[in-house]
């Protein structure tokens, strides 16, 4: 009789300390190998494709610039996700918060006069933070006062935000809409912000958007806040045990609202950066189809919500999507590259589980010879089935 091998998840006795940080890179490597096999099976040369991927993403200035441009919004939305997810508050709404941040930042950009770059940038960033923060405050307050799940409310707000954007540009003659030319009146588009308020780029040859630098600064800042401030202490305690937090006198409801608003504000900066760094005007379609917010969640999850890690994983994910766009063509459909991207995310997510559990297949004899081999935790050899047979 055919018997399928039994598969069990066995909790690791003691997850080795190095395993946690080592897992994401291992998972990425594994994904590249599996993806390579798929490419190979579909009759393509994986080595060649990977080489080209590296080339179009990293090894020439133009490619690296494109990667950093793609990574810029992801660093920021990744940080937005990391802030709340660390605390087991599930803000899925970075997408909407980014859009509202963009609305506010572009309004500021339009309203600005020749104030000088520093001032106009500051104003735009603050406007973006206010927009994103307000949008995030809605689900936070709903949760605190009405005990609604922030997963649902943030998600629903993600559907509302683009409607607002489309309304502002396509359905009204709003402040944001460009009505100066005949063409713009027929094909609606956003008002362009003052040229003097375009955000600068850095680096010779390689373009480093200002938003990307902002992302790095924020990542460092957040790390410091969580590790060494009183506010961060409250975050760490509440993350570990909300009951202990309440016991310690932490105003947990207030903390929750603060953290959500902070997260929304960071997503709002991503929106401001879209305006200031790239599009220079409100572009509803681009923002809606980019799904920066959702990708940010994946970016943060890749590194277990560690702020500094977010910078690295945003570059990786940015490079992948950039490579996808650059390589697609008749002989390499975008879907195949999407498979690779999906594999990486899937395997990293799975690695989270395998750091705590090991997978055992089949059964093994109950008595062994001594326990000398104990200690090694990767010896996930065959193990047993919890129990069977007729005890009565």
């Amino acid at each position: 009789m055919l018997r399928l091998p039994e598969i069990h998840f066995e909790k690791r006795l003691k997850p080795p300390r190095w395993l946690g940080p080592a897992m994401p890179p291992i998972a990425v490597l594994a994904a590249l190998i599996i993806g390579g096999l798929i490419l190979w099976a579909s009759g393509r040369d994986p080595i060649d494709i990977y080489q080209r991927m590296v080339r179009v993403s990293f090894t020439n200035p133009g490619a690296l610039s494109a990667t950093l441009v793609a990574a810029t919004p992801l660093v920021l939305t990744g940080l937005a996700a990391a802030i709340t997810f660390r605390m087991k508050v599930w803000n899925i709404g970075a997408d909407g918060q980014l859009m509202i941040g963009a609305v506010f930042a572009s309004a500021a950009g339009i309203a600005l006069d020749e104030q000088g770059l520093a001032v106009s940038m500051t104003v735009m960033i603050i406007a973006g933070m206010v927009g994103g923060g307000l949008w995030a405050a809605i689900p936070a307050l709903l949760r605190v006062y009405l005990n609604t799940s922030e997963v649902l409310t943030t998600l629903m707000l993600n559907y509302i935000a683009p409607l607002i954007l489309f309304y502002l540009i396509f359905s009204t003659t709003s402040y944001w809409r460009d009505l100066t030319t005949e063409g713009a009146r027929v094909f609606p588009r956003g008002k362009t912000i003052l040229e003097g308020a375009f955000w600068p780029e850095y680096g010779g040859g390689v373009v480093v958007p200002f938003g990307f630098i902002l992302g790095i600064v924020l990542a460092v800042l957040l790390t410091v806040v969580v590790r060494s401030t009183r506010f961060g202490f409250q975050m760490r305690v509440s993350a570990d045990s909300p009951t202990a937090g309440r016991y310690a006198g932490i105003r947990t409801a207030r903390l929750l609202v603060l953290v959500m608003v902070l997260s929304g504000a960071v997503a709002g900066i991503a929106g401001a950066s879209q305006i200031g760094d790239f599009s220079h005007r409100l572009e509803p379609k681009i923002l809606q189809f980019a799904v920066f917010g959702y990708t940010g969640i994946a970016v943060a999850a890749l590194v277990r919500y560690h702020p500094l890690g977010v910078v690295v994983s945003a570059i990786l994910v940015g490079a992948l999507s950039n490579a996808g766009l650059a390589l697609q063509g008749p002989e390499l459909p975008l879907g195949l590259i999407g498979v690779n991207q999906g594999l990486i995310l899937l395997l990293v997510a799975a690695s989270e589980v395998s750091a705590r559990y090991k997978v055992v297949v089949g059964r093994r004899p109950r008595t062994g010879h001594g326990a000398q081999q104990a200690g090694g935790d990767l010896d996930g050899g065959p193990a047993e089935e919890p129990a069977s047979g007729g005890v009565s």
């Binding site: 066995e10 909790k11 006795l13 003691k14 060494s228 401030t229 009183r230 506010f231 202490f233 409250q234 760490r236 305690v237 570990d240 045990s241 009951t243 202990a244 937090g245 309440r246 016991y247 310690a248 006198g249 932490i250 105003r251 109950r366 008595t367 062994g368 010879h369 001594g370 326990a371 000398q372 081999q373 104990a374 200690g375 193990a383 047993e384 089935e385 919890p386 129990a387 069977s388 047979g389 007729g390 005890v391």
Partner: protein, 524 residues
């Protein structure tokens, strides 16, 4: 008195043995070449100070940890358990302090849950219920197989855990501090069941810090000290009493300090006062009913009662963790807002909750973080919005030293032994020099010497002017330490007695819900 080595025994009588078992954690060797035998038909006590490695040894015997060196033998054969499931299969089962029951399911469902014996067969509720009832009867455990877990008391839940083990064919049952959560009556019942098991040829390993229980229940004892076996004795052949056991554990005699009944409290204003305070449970039933109490500076008021009679609600209402539905609480003469833990703490209230790891400590954070769990707002611990690691560590080291905690500032609280986690909590709360201290079951889970040092620390705090509300199920402890005793039953205060000359049977009547008139003694 104490036999240096165990008498020689026939190999095949052993159910479970450890030979030279060694297990190290970062910075500490929890087990160091431990030899241990649990014979058939005996109740074997495992004793030792907090952090001496008892729980670790049991976790090795049940496959939760793997030893760094040494072997586990079952019936003389070396085994290499990879998981608790392997240990079940070999008939070894451990009842942890935190039960693993599904609270929305019935007793019978929990007993068979996840058990593969009947794999492929349909769950026959009737049959399982009958089997469970039969097993319960056989071991003198009164339990209804159809009862829903969430309705059961802690003692009953423990019985379900034991039944689960027996139903699954356990031959060796390991109980880690089982009586710390039981009332004396429940403990008595447990002992009857355990003796019955031993009489039927099974073996029981019993961990406890209550030495009287050990002398009453156990056949043999093995004492661990700093991870090594430091002594053993056969209680059937030698007459070792609780004092002797204490000496084996800590190497000296322990005399418990008691309240000296000379100091008069005078007529000072109460530091803590409750007037007609009522509160409800989360699901709406009444938890406290019109409780009126007061504690003066320098006084220890003991709250005696069977656990589950409103003690948790009482403590939480005072600490601000639970809103009161009626009545007033005054702290230091000023009314205390309802449901505001920070206000209570800022007014000099310290609180040691019964639920240590769930409420009083953040188990996933370090000992250092936990030592400043409430104090993180104090100016001297940092500058502006920043906390100073150096100052936090300095304070932590001081607390660890003063309370003799075995563990480093950097270890996670969840990695501490049960008693040491408890000490961290006590150290933090008591050292905050509170004006009012609410402390629940202060010495639960502590070894004899730690128990004594906490008792004297509580007495010192009272002598220094703190008002202490001490909730405990241990009547002896209350009688030793408290100035007055308030007896709580079903959320009501049945009466308040002077501890001097209080009669334990009288307190017992009150605990069961009787009134002072029933006891035939006039109220003081």
């Amino acid at each position: 008195m104490t036999a240096a080595g165990a008498p020689t025994r026939d190999q095949d009588r052993h159910t479970v043995s450890a030979r030279g078992v060694t297990k190290a954690f970062p910075g500490v060797v929890a087990n160091d070449g431990v030899d241990f035998d649990a014979d058939r038909g005996e109740v074997h006590a495992l004793l030792g100070e907090n952090g001496s490695g008892k729980t670790t040894l049991c976790k090795i015997l049940t496959g939760l940890y793997r030893p760094d060196a040494g072997q586990v033998l079952v019936g003389g054969d070396t085994v290499a358990f990879r998981s608790p499931a392997d240990a079940y299969e070999a008939g070894i089962f451990m009842v942890h302090q935190h039960f693993s029951l599904v609270s929305s399911m019935t007793v019978a469902e929990n007993v068979v849950l996840g058990w593969h014996r009947d794999k492929g067969r349909v769950f026959n509720r009737r049959q399982v219920e009958e089997e469970v009832a039969r097993a319960a009867e056989r071991f003198d455990m009164h339990i209804d197989p159809r009862a829903i877990i969430s309705r059961l008391s802690v003692g009953e839940r423990q019985r379900v855990e034991i039944l689960k083990a027996l139903y699954r064919g356990a031959r060796t049952l390991i109980l880690d501090e089982p009586t710390s959560v039981l009332t004396p009556q429940e403990a008595e019942q447990l002992f009857v069941s355990l003796r019955r098991m031993a009489a039927e040829g099974e073996s029981v390993v019993f961990i406890s810090h209550k030495l009287d229980e050990v002398t009453a229940l156990c056949d043999r004892v093995t004492v661990l000290r700093h991870g090594r076996v430091s002594g053993s004795a056969d209680l059937r052949t030698s007459r070792v009493d609780a004092r002797g056991l204490a000496r084996m554990m800590v190497g000296r005699d322990i005399a418990f300090s008691r309240r000296s009944r000379v100091d008069a409290l005078g007529d000072s204003e109460p530091a803590l006062e409750l007037r007609d305070v009522s509160a409800v449970e989360a699901h709406g039933t009444l938890a406290l009913h019109e409780v009126t109490l007061s504690v003066r500076p320098g006084e220890i008021l003991g709250v005696a009662g069977v656990s589950g009679n409103g003690q948790v609600a009482l403590a939480e209402v005072i600490a601000g963790l639970r809103k009161r539905t009626a009545g007033d609480v005054t702290l230091q003469g000023k009314p205390l807002p309802s449901g505001n833990p920070r206000a209570a703490a800022d007014r000099g209230l310290a609180y040691v909750p019964e639920d240590r790891l769930g409420t009083g400590l953040a188990p996933g954070l370090t000992v250092a973080d936990n030592c400043v769990l409430k104090a993180y707002r104090q100016r001297e611990l940092g500058r502006g919005p920043f906390l100073s690691r150096i100052r936090i560590l300095a304070r932590t080291r001081r607390l660890l030293k003063a309370f003799d905690v075995r563990g480093t500032a950097e270890s996670l609280v969840r990695q501490l032994s049960g008693g040491n986690a408890q000490k961290v909590l006590l150290a933090r709360e008591i050292s905050s020099e509170p004006q009012v201290l609410v402390v629940a079951t202060p010495t639960r889970g502590l070894d004899v010497s730690a128990m004594e040092s906490i008792r004297s620390i509580l007495l010192e705090a009272a002598a220094g002017g703190a008002a202490i509300l001490m909730i405990s199920e241990d009547l002896a402890e209350i009688l030793d330490l408290a100035d007055r005793i308030a007896v709580i039953s079903r959320g009501r205060i049945q009466g308040v007695l002077e501890a001097d000359g209080a009669d334990p049977t009288q307190v017992g009547v009150l605990m069961m819900g009787g009134s002072l008139e029933d006891t035939g003694v006039a109220a003081p």
